[in-house]
Symmetry: C2
Subunit: 369 residues, 2 copies
């Protein structure tokens, strides 16, 4: 069992919960109806109730799906059915972090030349901000080049038009299953009780819009036009064998950020443009783990809800061929053209060689002008 998703099809009414297995996609509700998978969460054709049911339910259903072999001739096997994967959940709040030290250093040097690239807070907390959940789209959705204000030099008035510096950010996202109580922080150690699974995220970024609007309140329209996610939620417990410590484990942290169980993940990401691989960011290189992000995000009493998404921020490893955005890789000189197709994918090695855990794909449409 490699992931859960939600699909429509010309062959059935409404949406259905689908699991991705080694033998292909299967209809979870159909398997539950004949007693092969625990029932109770599948009838509405959505994942929210299952995600809210908690880790015991997640492990039970994943185990059941691993134990059965759905033949391709079986009606519950959807391998030959036309499926349209949808957003896997109705996303509540979306938070984007900035958890790669290499990326924050690269970007700081580009955006604030001559200054210390990391702000003084960066090594003390996972820096993040809220993004727009209403414009999160599933892989395959084309993304229109945004228009907006940008200023070419401090001496001129701002102009308006299509972004000329459209970029991507390769990220890993986490989807909350079990909600927390408003007023009660989620400790680092409770991460796996609340977070159901992992997806891939392309945080499309209009660098010119972002640069002009970003002070003093941070990213807004340079990001809010679209964020793409992969359709399969990979259960966190499936990735337990590749949990690794993050770099912040070796630094001096406030107690609420101390991590006893490593919550980093050894995933190999890949960014390609029009079929050409331009980068292979290693997710194991992150400074902050998702458990630290969740602990930080809730330490002020903020609650999380089923379907909330939080993302790592751009994943950039030490080498230039491991950086996760074009502004870094091409030193502010090359961005996306209309028609470019961007694919972010990831593999994990659970002991038998690399297995894909998903991809997020999107083509750039020309701006409406």
């Amino acid at each position: 069992m490699l992931g859960f998703g939600v699909a429509t099809s010309p062959h059935f009414v409404g949406t259905r919960v689908v699991a991705r297995t080694s033998s292909g996609p299967v209809d979870v509700g159909a398997l539950a109806a004949r007693g092969q998978v625990t029932d109770g969460w599948w009838r509405a054709g959505r994942l929210e109730e299952f995600l809210a049911a908690g880790r015991t339910a997640w492990q039970q259903v994943s185990g059941e799906l691993d134990d059965i072999d759905v033949d391709s001739a079986d009606q519950a096997h959807l391998g030959s059915t036309e499926l349209h994967l949808q957003l896997p959940v109705d996303i509540g709040d979306y938070v984007d972090f900035y958890a790669s030290r290499q990326h924050a250093t690269n970007l700081g040097a580009l955006l604030r030349p001559g200054q210390e690239p990391l702000t003084p807070n960066w090594l003390h907390m996972p820096i993040g901000y809220h993004g727009r959940s209403g414009t999160i789209v599933v892989s395959g959705t084309p993304v229109r080049r945004p228009c907006g204000q940008r200023r070419t030099s401090p001496e001129t008035a701002p102009g308006f038009g299509p972004s000329q510096r459209l970029d991507v950010e390769v990220e890993v996202g986490y989807v909350v299953g079990v909600p927390s109580r408003h007023g009660t922080p989620v400790p680092v150690g409770d991460f796996a009780e609340h977070v159901f699974g992992v997806c891939l995220v392309n945080d499309w970024s209009a660098r010119d819009i972002q640069a002009w609007e970003g002070q003093p309140l941070g990213p807004f329209l340079g990001k809010s036009f679209a964020t793409s996610v992969s359709p399969w939620l990979v259960p966190l417990d499936l990735l337990a064998p590749v949990r690794v410590p993050v770099a912040s484990a070796n630094t001096s942290l406030l107690p609420y950020l101390h991590e006893t169980d490593p919550a980093g993940l050894d995933l190999t990401l890949s960014l390609s443009i029009n079929g050409e691989v331009v980068s292979k960011p290693p997710y194991a290189s992150m400074f902050w783990s998702p458990a630290q992000m969740l602990a930080h995000m809730t330490v002020n009493g903020a609650s999380v809800r089923t379907g909330d998404l939080f993302a790592s921020g751009t994943v950039s490893g030490p080498g230039r061929d491991q950086w996760g955005s074009l502004i870094e890789i091409f030193d502010d000189k090359r961005f996306l053209s209309d028609g470019d197709e961007v694919v972010i994918s990831a593999t994990v090695d659970l002991g038998n060689g690399p297995v894909s855990i998903g991809e997020v794909r999107g083509q750039v449409l020309p701006a409406h002008t």
Copy 2:
């Protein structure tokens, strides 16, 4: 008809849509069931379907409610029924703007002493950021003092503990009724076709947490612990008589921000702490209007959904007794104590003297430590 809300009561099951009329609260579904109000949106006891129905429906129902006189002896009159007003809608994305020039100037001077208080972009666009929708609470909900990281001087390491500089921000909020299409901006002139109504917002702010975390990505935990809103949504069309031009109308703006119909509002706000009025911010003094905010927020193609909330940012008029946050009024010297009760209210004069359009109330609980 002064507003729409959603209430629970020990006297009925579930929630009901309630209208606030000059004779008291009335049960809209009950009036619809007997043909006095157009039916079709009330059975689920929520406002979303009515809000999505559009301006013609809003005007029709408001007119019908104005035309009937519900006697206090009538079963549909809820004046003597114990009502618990709820969040009026399920809030999608929440965006907080920064649209008062006086406030941005005051805060810039406090946070970046010796520098130009307004950032270079401020006069060209309504600056805003996304906030956390999952921690928006209705008036009356107590608010727990947040804990978090703060640093007392650039020479020391950050500490952790309850915020020592807990503040409020007096704001006006706008709730979207009719969604827009992803990829298609909402022009300034279409504001009243999309936005249903107005509420009041207390954007609780932990200034110490905010100051330490805020660079480079803006406000996060200093705001996300709670945001309080008033329970009644006041239809925008009710406020048409007090529409006024905003200050940006007299400045040079990019065409997408030009406003032909004034969309500012002449509302008198009031901030009181433990019953003592500390400020009377005049909403007519804003630099950016809500129509400009909506046009800006969507000019990159970002869509809005039914239930999205966007707020003005702190309303501060020219005089110190018109400033909308404690950090401004008391020059960074006085903040909220545990047990303090904060009330933000507003009145409008539609020709017959001031009428209340709502209040948002909240008491500070001590931090969990």
